[in-house]
């Protein structure tokens, strides 16, 4: 998991925005639309990042379709220290 977290967040083009998304979801779970609004990002961009984060088991998803709510997965929760470390360095 550690290696995945480092690469997904700091090795890729969309990494910094993924860090922002995960930070925001840690405060409280949200749906894609709320995330796009709160982070001032394009809805499609947010959807793409959410799919990547789901695929890598960093997020879990409750509900279907438009209103689906996203939250930090148990696995990512167990590695929250790493995510915090990555996030701190981003400032």
């Amino acid at each position: 998991m550690e290696g995945v977290l480092w690469y997904v967040f700091t090795g890729t083009r969309g990494g910094p925005n993924r860090v922002r998304i995960v930070r925001t979801l840690r405060e409280r779970p949200r749906n894609a639309n709320q995330l796009a609004e709160d982070l001032n990002l394009d809805y499609k961009t947010v959807r793409h990042h959410l799919d990547v984060l789901l695929e890598n088991n960093i997020l879990d998803c409750g509900g279907d379709g438009y209103g689906a709510i996203y939250l930090i997965s148990d696995q990512a929760g167990q590695h929250w220290e790493t995510i915090e470390q990555i996030s701190e360095q981003m400032g």
């Binding site: 690469y7 700091t10 090795g11 890729t12 083009r13 969309g14 990494g15 910094p16 981003m90 400032g91």
Partner: protein, 101 residues
């Protein structure tokens, strides 16, 4: 002009472009995260870029080596070098695919 050498130059050119793309992502991430991981990726990219640049110089511009690679090197050796380069290009295509995301 040996076709293998031309193909070789082409793969080196493609490698250089792919590595430039990777360096732009990793460089920006390094500036943002300042972590050893991002620095490591960036330096790795820089070294791989230098390797390809040096190879391009040897195959195209170096007054002695350039002639030797084009005219004097046996076909079997040209193919062997070409094969190694192709594997590097395939590796870089996949790395770019997961990084440009």
């Amino acid at each position: 002009m040996a076709i293998w050498i031309d193909a070789l130059r082409l793969t080196i050119g493609v490698n250089l472009l792919l590595i430039l793309g990777l360096l732009s992502v990793w460089g920006q991430n390094y500036l943002q995260f300042r972590s050893k991981h991002t620095l490591g990726l960036f330096v790795f990219g820089l070294m791989l870029f230098s390797e390809n640049l040096l190879a391009l110089y040897f195959f195209l511009f170096d007054p002695v080596l350039h002639v030797w690679f084009s005219a004097d090197m046996p076909m079997i050796a040209q193919r062997a070098i070409m094969l190694i380069r192709v594997f590097e290009t395939i590796a870089l295509v996949f790395l770019t695919w997961i990084t440009w995301d």
